[in-house]
Amino acid sequence: MTEETKGRPPSGRFITTQFNSLLGWARKFSLFHYPFVTACCGMEYMAAACAHFDIDRFGAGWTRFSPRQSDMLLVVGTITHKEAPVLRTVYEQMTEPKWVVAFGTCTVSGGIYGNYAVVQGIDKIIPVDVYIPGCPPRPETVLDGLLKLQEKIQRQDQDWRWKKKRS
């Protein structure tokens, strides 16, 4: 998405625009996520996914433990340099359309670990759509991040079969 098209509905005729919104609506309410869980944020991820703060009510309930069946990569917890190739492989195995959520400050920017072993932010490895800060983020923050991702999906120029997404 270039600077000009950000925020504006996708260009095209009326039917294609409506179809685009429909596709966006369908995609945002049926997010299958792949929880790439490594560390402490995993506990808050579990708390956000379970009964008290449910992510199932946003349609993102089912975790798909295979990258090929999921469309959201939820990177939870610290990523070290040893883990980085694995993350890259998992990201590349996912099929389009895909979104990445950086959960926790360690994925956003390395967190409190400014040392030899930790990648200072996963956007150095893969493109990220939503950043959720917090160490660990409260489940309400996670849900807020999820809603922001849903807004982004709704606004996005959905890639259709005959249009290759440019990025």
């Binding site: 040893k82 190739p85 890259r88 400014g114 040392n115 030899y116 990648v119 200072q120 150095k124 490895i125």
Partner: protein
């Protein structure tokens, strides 16, 4: 009473290998000569000490000292409910010490970790290779002269 007995026993059995003993803050410590490590450890495990458990095995780097590295072993006796700390100094030129894998099984990975992070070589270790860092990593991170933030990324990073 008993702590003095074990340190005294050590002094009797290994007058040459044992350098000094102390019991500060309730921890019994014995500083030994690195050549005598295997014998002393075997004596402690099988003898009247009954130190059947090796709790931890680590290394401390004192930069600037002539014997820069100090290996620290924490032993624990379940039956007598006593802990003991053994220390042995190594100098940078001669960074080898005997491996304790024949006595305690967890020494395997603990020694691999010390090799990975400090560079100490263990004679007699069945499979000495890096444990925590990856194959391509150069250097030993926990040494004091390794800079804290020097990253060696495995895959090319963007931005």
């Amino acid at each position: 009473m008993e702590e003095k007995t074990i340190l005294e026993l050590l002094r009797e059995q290994f007058p040459a290998g044992l350098k000094e003993t102390s019991a500060l803050l309730g921890d019994e410590v014995a500083v030994i000569d690195k050549e005598a490590l295997l014998q002393i450890a075997a004596f402690l495990k099988n003898g009247p000490g009954e130190f059947t458990m090796l709790l931890d095995l680590t290394c401390v780097d004192y930069p600037g000292d002539e014997s820069r590295f100090e290996m620290v072993y924490h032993l624990f006796s379940l039956t007598r409910n006593r802990r003991l700390r053994i220390k042995a100094r190594l100098s940078e030129g001669d960074l080898r010490i005997a491996s304790l894998t024949s006595l305690w099984k967890n020494a395997n990975w603990l020694e691999r970790e010390v090799y990975d992070l400090f560079g100490v070589h263990f004679d007699g270790h069945p499979d000495l290779r890096r444990l925590l860092m990856y194959d391509g990593f150069e250097g030993h991170p926990l040494r004091k002269d390794y800079p804290l933030r020097r990253e060696q990324p495995l895959i090319p990073l963007k931005e």
